[in-house]
Symmetry: none
Subunit: 202 residues, 4 copies
Amino acid sequence: MPTKNTRRSHSGPKRDAQTHEAILAATLALLDDVGYGSLTIEGVAAKAGVGKTTIYRWWPSKGALVGEALSTKLSKGPEEETGDLRQDLLQTVRVTLENYAGQSSPVAVLAFAAHVERDFDLLESFRKDFLADRRRHGREMLERAVSRGQLPQDTDIDLMMDIWAGAIFYRSHITGDPIEPDFPEKVVQLLLSGTLPRRSSD
Amino acid sequence: MPTKNTRRSHSGPKRDAQTHEAILAATLALLDDVGYGSLTIEGVAAKAGVGKTTIYRWWPSKGALVGEALSTKLSKGPEEETGDLRQDLLQTVRVTLENYAGQSSPVAVLAFAAHVERDFDLLESFRKDFLADRRRHGREMLERAVSRGQLPQDTDIDLMMDIWAGAIFYRSHITGDPIEPDFPEKVVQLLLSGTLPRRSSD
Amino acid sequence: MPTKNTRRSHSGPKRDAQTHEAILAATLALLDDVGYGSLTIEGVAAKAGVGKTTIYRWWPSKGALVGEALSTKLSKGPEEETGDLRQDLLQTVRVTLENYAGQSSPVAVLAFAAHVERDFDLLESFRKDFLADRRRHGREMLERAVSRGQLPQDTDIDLMMDIWAGAIFYRSHITGDPIEPDFPEKVVQLLLSGTLPRRSSD
Amino acid sequence: MPTKNTRRSHSGPKRDAQTHEAILAATLALLDDVGYGSLTIEGVAAKAGVGKTTIYRWWPSKGALVGEALSTKLSKGPEEETGDLRQDLLQTVRVTLENYAGQSSPVAVLAFAAHVERDFDLLESFRKDFLADRRRHGREMLERAVSRGQLPQDTDIDLMMDIWAGAIFYRSHITGDPIEPDFPEKVVQLLLSGTLPRRSSD
DNA sequence: ATTTAAACGAGACGGTACGTCGCGTCTTTGT
DNA sequence: ACAAAGACGCGACGTACCGTCTCGTTTAAAT
């Protein structure tokens, strides 16, 4: 069965797909060029060759616009799962690293998150849509590891995710220290075995 | 007739200590009320009963002003050290938690950090002064633990600090999930022993 | 003894005279160039090399700005009076002609009047200040003529003024017919003696 | 299936007479409500229940639309002529008074005239069609009076018309003074006999 | 004790961007 | 097929703050 078009009687959004994409592209370009704080709707409009009105018609605020633009860029997780906990964890950490510290406009995530904190509506959709989508894979992967007995029944999955995401986020945006290629391995090692020496083999 | 003027100023540039404090206090108050993004120099000046000029005389930018205001609020670490690694770590994590997720204006930290990312001069002093001051205690505490043999020689101290600070930062500012009272214990436990079950007692 | 505030009447408007004049000049220039309807505050600001804010600080609306600009251009009446009714009337009609149909920005008067009709505050000041100032001379001149017996006691002075001003206004702005040099004489002649032939000499 | 649609129009361009009238009616209604300056095409379209496109299809500009709307409201002159100059003049002045100062949307005439001054095409048709139509009756009436010897051969008919129309226009739109019921009589008296006392009877 | 130079409050200034409104054109959609 | 509905690029609106710049007025230090 082809279209199950849910549009009722008529009209619908009627929005111009090309224009829409031009706006998102201009937004991402300007995030790279000038950063979130200096990004202006007028600037996006000019760069996209579009009227300001068109932007305001579809996005209620700069935050919402940037949020959608970032959504199109950030991965929701690796595609495959090996069943090997350490390997799967490593894959997931690497995706997070790419999302939060990759070369292309990662800086904006911080400013976007900052902006979002004061905008309740946007905060809702940021957490419900954006974040939840990107945490789902990791959560399910860990849940499977628990059910397979690779992790204890009482494992705090949220804590694990906050630790790896937080470490990446904090290092890349707050301390600014370089993130070495073995950073994901180290994080995974610490997550699994901690820092203290083990009596027996690891 | 005794002066009702309590001013006592002296050193270097003739700046008025009362005025200075009124500005910082107004800044902190407005951070709480309206957030970093909506904080304006004009607003601070009005709230402090001060001319804009006076603010611009002493701080080059909104970021610098907020940075100094936050510095006066955020702790540099616990005063004492027990020598018990787990206890000392717990104390330090709790201070970080208070700094980043305490009730009073913690939100601004995120926005401040976001702003700072595009302001190179400010970024420098933020990392060299503000952050380094607040990381020094934890680093030295961990270094002592290593030298006492409580932690392996090759312990990645920066990684440990990024993990606890990042977890707190990420949960309080990004996911927004509640932080339970046992959160520091859980973080410390994971930092020390990881998630995997140990063969022998922990 | 508390400080008695020595500030009493000072500060005042503190406005920049040069800027003020540049704005009025730019306004008059643009009235000539593009007309009242197409005159924009942004245009005036740009031409005067001034921020929009400065204009809005001192004038509440485009109408008020144009009103003041026109006030500086339009004469309040001839300086001298001969006592010869026909001559004095002629002088006054000629001033009105120059005001309403002179080469420099007379067109704007019509549009200004049109705008003013929907702006009650501006209408008040237009009639109380602008118009009254420009009608005073004619009214007093005619009153003196009445008291000298040159005109009947029951002369309707307002009607006379409306007739000559209206004729000029109507011809120059509504019908657009050319106004010949003898137009003032013809108006004065009609005002004094009407159109019908007189039994005796005129 | 027979149409229950009562629309019947078709001649020339296929324009819908009902729609056309609805637009003109909405235009007049909005002229009264908000005035010429605040009248918008979008407002007319909304009030008439019509698409903007339809308006733009038939009228090139707001001025043209208002011009046509006003044309349908303003009289071209009294129907009968008595041959008594004073009476006929009085009738004509009264019609002009009703057109320019009557209760229904007279204000718009001024604004329309103002707009028209900068729109050359519209100005042409305003003067050639609208005005000429409404001045024809007065002109012909006066010409007949001249040919009957009731007025001198060299009477300046245009001047007479400008004087009564101008006086009405000026008083109602510029000075704003009230127009008493005997205003037409006074104007006619002055037009015919002037202000100066006559030696013999009037 | 008086002078003097700074720091101060106030706020005007030239600007930039805001978010809104209406323009006149062009496209889609439903009857 | 036509016209309503309305999206579009555009330009001006009037507002809020920016950071700079005079203005007098304190006020503490150096005469």
